[in-house]
């Protein structure tokens, strides 16, 4: 029987009353990177355990949404979509929205979903919302292939340097979504029926983002309001890459988005950390 002795590398830990604002502890998060890894692996394993159904469900969701909006807005209302058919116009932004809303949803629900282990074991709670980002990105990868298929069928796809912009856009999107997810995760601790409200908020957010319609149908003087939503500019940029629509996204605009997303993420992380010590007490 040998106990792993690491006394010499152990710095004393003080357990004191929480302060009003607590900051994220990145060193500790780093020490728990193994947990992050196994949580991500757990999510992936569980998702693909029923391989066929798991995979089908991921591509079925965007397909169903696409069909519905295609019939109503594409065929019946005939929303103008420029040089591409409506279903592709829709899908190119919808997969981005899916990534965004999935990160928010999964992050916000990750505390409630893992409450059993939270009230029995210490670990930095933030690994739970953070681990959801990877599953969402994997789903995005799959729906991205679906979009690619449609682009190929309609001969819109061309191998281009534009696609180099995708990683940059993905970083901005995930940081932004993760920040919002942390904020909602923190609120979920105080208000357990927040879940319903969150669904409602996301629904409205989707309608207010030019996903199923182009920004051009909004009167010009109101467009600025839509651009207060950082997702609007992001969706524009994604469409520029996928559909060659609109203008080359401006570097300074992307930089501003990144800064805003990062600030939001840190605010979310601080609110989350300040709330996390209440989780075990109220649940």
């Amino acid at each position: 029987m040998n106990i792993i002795r690491r006394e010499n590398e152990f710095a004393p830990i003080e357990i004191a009353p929480p302060s009003f604002l607590e900051f994220p502890r990145f060193r500790e998060l780093w020490e728990y990177k193994g947990l992050l890894f196994f949580l991500i692996r757990r999510d992936i394993k569980l998702r693909f355990q029923q391989t066929v159904i798991g995979f089908l469900w991921i591509i079925l969701q965007p397909l169903i949404q696409m069909s519905i909006f295609y019939v109503f807005l594409g065929v019946l209302v005939k929303v103008p979509t420029g040089n591409v058919p409506y279903h592709i116009f829709f899908l190119s932004a919808f997969i981005v929205w899916q990534l965004f809303s999935q990160i928010i949803n999964l992050s916000a629900l990750s505390l409630v979903g893992n409450i059993g282990i939270i009230i029995k074991c210490y670990f930095p709670r933030m690994v739970l919302p953070l681990s959801t980002v990877v599953s969402a990105l994997i789903d995005f990868g799959i729906s991205f292939l679906l979009l690619l298929l449609f682009l190929l069928i309609d001969n819109i796809y061309s191998l281009s340097f534009r696609y180099l912009l995708i990683p940059v856009l993905l970083v901005i999107t995930t940081v932004f979504a993760s920040g919002v997810g942390l904020l909602f995760g923190a609120m979920m601790v105080l208000f357990r029926d927040m879940k319903n409200l969150l669904g409602f908020i996301l629904q409205i957010w989707m309608y207010l983002t030019p996903i199923m319609y182009p920004i051009s149908i909004v009167p010009e003087k109101y467009q600025i309001i839509f651009y207060l939503n950082p997702l609007t500019a992001l969706v524009d940029a994604y469409r520029w890459v996928f559909l060659r629509q609109g203008n080359l996204p401006r570097f300074d605009h992307l930089l501003i988005s990144l800064v805003v997303a990062t600030v939001l993420w840190f605010s979310g992380a601080i609110v989350f950390r300040s709330m996390e010590n209440k989780i075990a007490d109220v649940m």
Partner: protein, 261 residues
């Protein structure tokens, strides 16, 4: 005097008991009701709406634990035993005072928490180990020992939902005691399982103790406490009623309980 493992200084813990716990609706109602409650109070009249009530689960607890000590915690239901262990395990924070840990803590507050029924025993060992703060290399190093102790070699790649409850508990216990670093915290977990498993786990605890681990355990079984712990802390109504040699404290406690009934 040995070296300190845990130091608790004037630790108190307050819980809020909220009516209709934490809903948006209740909160809105509370906000809407606030002015009326205020008016009622101005008239010196009884208000039926109490937004929250507080409980002091721990009051001014202070004690020191040294390396290699084994400490039993006893007390009636609601005395604050679990709350104390939760603070030492860093699951919740104290409302006042502070605890300093000089060794690494590992806690087993419930058998098998964090197990995912759809994952195999192997997967769960890694996931559970990392929840407990272990590094991948440490888990790997201990993996075979864990599997052998829990006697589930043949089923290690089977999802744990197909395990019998005995197998499930053996695996969970095995993970905790093998990955365990310097301080082990147990909340009434030695009471589960069949006689064979209980004997085996008590033996394991003895082994851990003789190898120098610090142990804090809550148990309703006076014999377990007497066998495993030199020292016992008796909590009553959130405060320390007695702290001393197990035999003496357990005797006093038994007498107290007998007299009360």
């Amino acid at each position: 005097m040995g070296r300190l493992a845990i130091k608790a200084e004037n630790v108190s813990k307050k819980y809020q008991i909220r009516q209709g716990l934490g809903g948006l609706q209740t909160s809105f109602k509370a906000i809407l009701n606030a002015p009326f409650n205020w008016l009622m109070r101005q008239n010196g009249r009884y208000t039926h709406f109490h937004p929250s009530e507080t409980i002091w689960a721990l009051r001014n607890i202070s004690f020191d634990v040294e390396h290699g000590e084994s400490i039993g915690i006893i007390g009636r239901n609601g005395a604050g035993k679990s709350t104390l262990l939760k603070i030492i395990s860093r699951i919740t924070r104290p409302s006042k005072g502070k605890i300093t840990l000089y060794q690494r803590v590992n806690s087993l507050l419930e058998i098998g928490t964090g197990f995912n029924p759809d994952l195999s025993g192997r997967e769960n060992i890694y996931l559970n180990g990392s929840f407990l703060g272990m590094k991948l290399s440490e888990i790997k190093q201990k993996f075979d020992e864990i599997v052998t102790f829990s006697e589930i070699e043949k089923f290690i790649d089977t999802p744990v939902k197909y395990y019998s409850s005995g197998m499930y508990m053996r695996l969970a216990f095995s993970i905790a005691v093998h990955l365990t670093p310097e301080i082990l915290i147990l909340d009434e977990v030695l009471a589960v399982g069949d006689a064979g498993f209980q004997r085996k786990s008590q033996e394991k605890m003895g082994e851990l103790l003789s190898s120098g681990a610090t142990i804090i355990l809550v148990s309703h079984n006076n014999n377990t406490i007497r066998n495993l712990c030199e020292r016992t802390i008796w909590l009553d109504n959130g405060a320390i009623k007695m702290d001393g040699t197990s035999d003496i404290v357990v005797d006093q406690y038994s007498k107290f309980i007998r007299e009360e009934n």
